[in-house]
């Protein structure tokens, strides 16, 4: 196995593009290092991106936030501006693993690991986040929901890697929230997750919404029907019922060791209702 720790993005993309065999990007390593201990996992090249300064920075731009691919989730929680603007995204990032894990793990890694149960992904999708992808041919910007294509699989091509997550500037009267269901209270993986972002009009009605669901399909589900169910409402009971129903309908979960189809389709609606109420309350406070 070869380990490289380049100093520039161009070196990273060149190493990845030229790699023979299986190549992986190392940021926090909380997924990669665990998998490397398994007897069934082989790796030929590890490219550590933490020596590139921009990878570990959060910057606030005119368009929003730019979060370097190696920024640990714990650091997101310490960024007051980000917490104030996107509490749902930060809360989701700080549900991953344990305190120790959060000191290393990253939202870019969480996205690239492409687990349908990734906590930060539905929150990012609800927030309308994008990924800036570096490649030998230059950078491009892609919506977060376009990155995972199935369990463990991404749309990234050879030589490409995510260098930053871009979260838009929060518009006025907006709020977000992410909730997940786990059988324990922490140190667990989502059986169901729901992220909601709402923007209110001046009368307190919902002007626009994004609803993203986790662990109920092979990849994160961005449900336009679920969003439509609450747009124009003030989250009256009927709108919440419609939201829950739309989320259940949009879900295509499986029976597995973590939960049943019946359970997931029901609880995704419950969580979406609760997340929508929380996002609505936050939007009203902004």
């Amino acid at each position: 196995m070869r380990y490289e720790r380049p100093k520039t993005t161009a070196e990273v993309t060149n190493l990845l593009a030229g790699a023979v065999g299986r190549a992986f990007v190392l940021a926090g390593g909380t997924d990669l290092l665990v998998r490397m201990k398994s007897d069934d996992f082989e790796v030929d090249l590890v490219v550590d991106i933490k020596a590139i300064p921009s990878m570990s920075e959060i910057s606030e731009t005119a368009d929003g936030f730019e979060i370097g691919a190696a920024v640990p989730c714990a650091v997101l929680g310490e960024n007051k501006a980000l917490v104030a603007a996107w509490p749902g995204v930060v809360e989701a990032a700080n549900l991953i693993g344990s305190t120790q894990i959060q000191g290393r793990c990253t939202i870019a890694g969480n996205l690239c690991n492409a687990s349908p149960a990734a906590d930060s992904v539905p929150a990012m999708v609800a927030a309308g986040a994008h990924a800036r992808i570096a490649s030998p041919d230059g950078a491009k910007i892609v919506a977060v929901e376009e990155i995972p294509v199935g369990p463990g699989e991404t749309s990234l091509k050879k030589g490409e890697f995510i260098e930053a997550i871009l979260i838009p500037k929060r518009s006025p009267r907006s709020g977000d929230a992410y909730l997940r269901f786990i059988p324990r209270t922490e140190m667990d993986i989502a059986v169901v997750g729901a992220g909601v972002r709402l923007t209110l009009d001046e009368q307190g009605g919902i002007e626009s919404a994004r609803v993203a669901l986790g662990a109920v399909g092979p990849k994160v589900v961005l449900s336009e029907e679920a969003a439509r169910a609450i747009v124009g409402s003030k989250l009256e009971e009927a709108a919440l019922d419609a939201l829950a129903e739309a989320c259940s309908a949009a879900s295509t979960p499986i029976d597995d060791k973590r939960g049943t189809v019946e359970f997931r389709k029901h609880v995704v609606g419950v969580l979406a209702r609760r997340a929508a109420k929380l996002a609505y309350k936050r939007a009203g406070e902004n």
């Binding site: 269901f181 059988p183 324990r184 209270t185 993986i189 060791k257 019946e262 609880v267």
Partner: protein, 754 residues
Amino acid sequence: MNFDPTYRSQKFRSVGTRPRRPDGIDKVTGRARYGADFNMPGQLVGRILRSPHAHARIVRIDTARAEAVKGVKAIVTASDLPDLTNGNQSLFNILDNCMARSKVLYDGHAVAAVAAIDANAAKQALKLIEVEYEVLPHVVDVDAAMLPDAPLIDKTLFTGGVEPTPETPSNVALRSEFGHGDIESGFAQADIVVERSYRTEQTHQGYIEPHACVASCNSDGTAELWVCTQGHFVFRQTCADLLGLDVSKLRVTSSEIGGGFGGKTHVWVEPVALALSRKAGRPVKLVMSREEVFRASGPTSATSIDVKIGARKDGTITAAAANLRYTNGPYADIWAELGAMTSFACYDLENVKTVGFEVLVNRPKVAAYRAPSAPMAAFAVESTIDELAQELGMDPVEFRIQNAASEGTKSSYGPVYGPIGIGPTLEAAQSHPHVKAPLGPNQGRGMACGFWFNFGGQTCTDLNVNVDGTVTLAVGTVDVGGSRASLSLIAAEELGIAYEDVKAVVADTATLGYNDMTDGSRGTFSSSMATISAARNAIGVMRHRAALQWDIPVEDVTWEDGNAKASGEKYGNLSPLSIKEIAAASGNTGGPIAGHSEMVADGAGVSFATHICDVEVDPETGSTRIVRYTVIQDAGKAVHPAYVEGQYQGGAAQGIGWALNEEYIYGEDGRLQNPGFLDYRIPVCSDLPMIDTQILEIPNPNHPYGVRGVGETSIVPPLAAIANAISNAVGIRMTHIPMSPPRILAALNRERNQ
């Protein structure tokens, strides 16, 4: 050796205090040496190749390509562990479990092992061992395994314990029956009969430290083993038997233990490590991964249990019956029998009958897990008792008090009880503030009782008085729950010296006589008895030495508060000789001072507990939170109360995990789906409230200080206590453990749709 174990009431100076644990600093600073922390020069890395199939015939194993890997020093298969068991079936089962011989019987069954100079070479070699399997139909479910057309685990197995012996083989190894009276006439007298069937899934002890050992076979025929175990003397015997060694030539040293809970009473990889070392001619370290621990060591039984209890309107139980079917893994044992014995042990019953069935399935060999088999039986019985109390319109505590066993009761499994704690724990529950505390929305309260036999067994202890008057205590029971602290307190009490002046160690098998393993809550019970005996013997020696120093008859020397005293007026001017003074002079009065003790510690008093639990159920998700939990248990005498409380809390915590989320999940292919702590969900700290404890002390008449074992009973009531609380909270009777959110939500939705 005229040791009198009879209980005598006395005022204690050391016993009952809470000094710091002697192993604490080493453990919190990382210096304590666990199984994987021993190292030898030239040591090799051992790895085991395990079956991916639940049931298959081994057609061929070819190790040639693996042997050619650079750095590989030995590969062993069953042929390197020849059958020396000489018709001893239980020993053969251990051998077959350590290394599959003709068939693999579960996903994870060992088929070969490698010793190599490093982990990479071992890993590479594992991949190159070719095993050809003929896959056979498998069965993992207890009820499915009992069906007439179930795949047979062992075609030569005919159910024992039934007359006449069946003519066709089956997966039911043994039927056992307990009870007395006539249940049919008992049920005929009942006004109300409740009958229900229950299921519990397989759980693992979940000890944090995986099995680990270093084995070293020497060219002169001797061998050494450093191992994480609950019983190094038992491991020595088993390994010596399986490898054909003289017992004296195998020296076993136990490490610190990162949890065992019964799972480390059985050998798993140790004979394999020794076989690898014998073949390689070098020491071999073998450490199981967490996945291996789950797939191939120690789970408890999955069960299916029917219970029927009848009572008169006045609350008297007239008859009780249970049929208990327990998985054993692929080898016959007595797990259902233990369930059948414990089921109704809390109650005074005129008519009672329990029947146990040991069922073979393609799952790992079942091992003891803290009060083995009792929690499942208690779940079924205590749930039924709760429902019966509801039907009778009686308070569940009051109903139990009315039917509780007491001194003189003939127990449902045979013996007549001496003084016991079930009544007092129930009465303590009745007056505990917990039962009157208000409950919030979606909250409910449940309670349940539990029983465990406790065990004494063979014990050998040495107590050495050092020249400075401090004491070294060498015991042979592995310290799994604080016994070194407790035994130091006991030695200090008996000798009349300070706790800090006693250092207790767990001696290896070459330096002390045989000891049974630490199981059956026997560690502190039996070794404290042996320690008291050894201390009294040492006091005898010291009285003799004082008599020599004073030149008076030994009969005139008494022992008080750590001093020899000359009794009688005629010695009025002799000042007492302290243990320090006697020890300092020992070189001139006869040499070293020691007390020795060997015994079978009989009379471990039975143990009872009552638990009270409040839960809150989220009706939209089926998620259950434990809001409040109280354990009330009889300790006989709490030697170190903080450790006793820890045992109460630890058992309750494990029971809570078992009740709510822990379970072995098998796929259609018979492979374990969740061999890791992510998907085998033991509770994390934030899942639990502070567990309150109340220690009752009803002295055990068969122990000088009244001590009873306290380690196991606390895991018995939680399953039922939580099920009863959930029933009280949301009105549904959960009959399938674990009561995971999907199961509770499904039950709630069924109820809503009715």
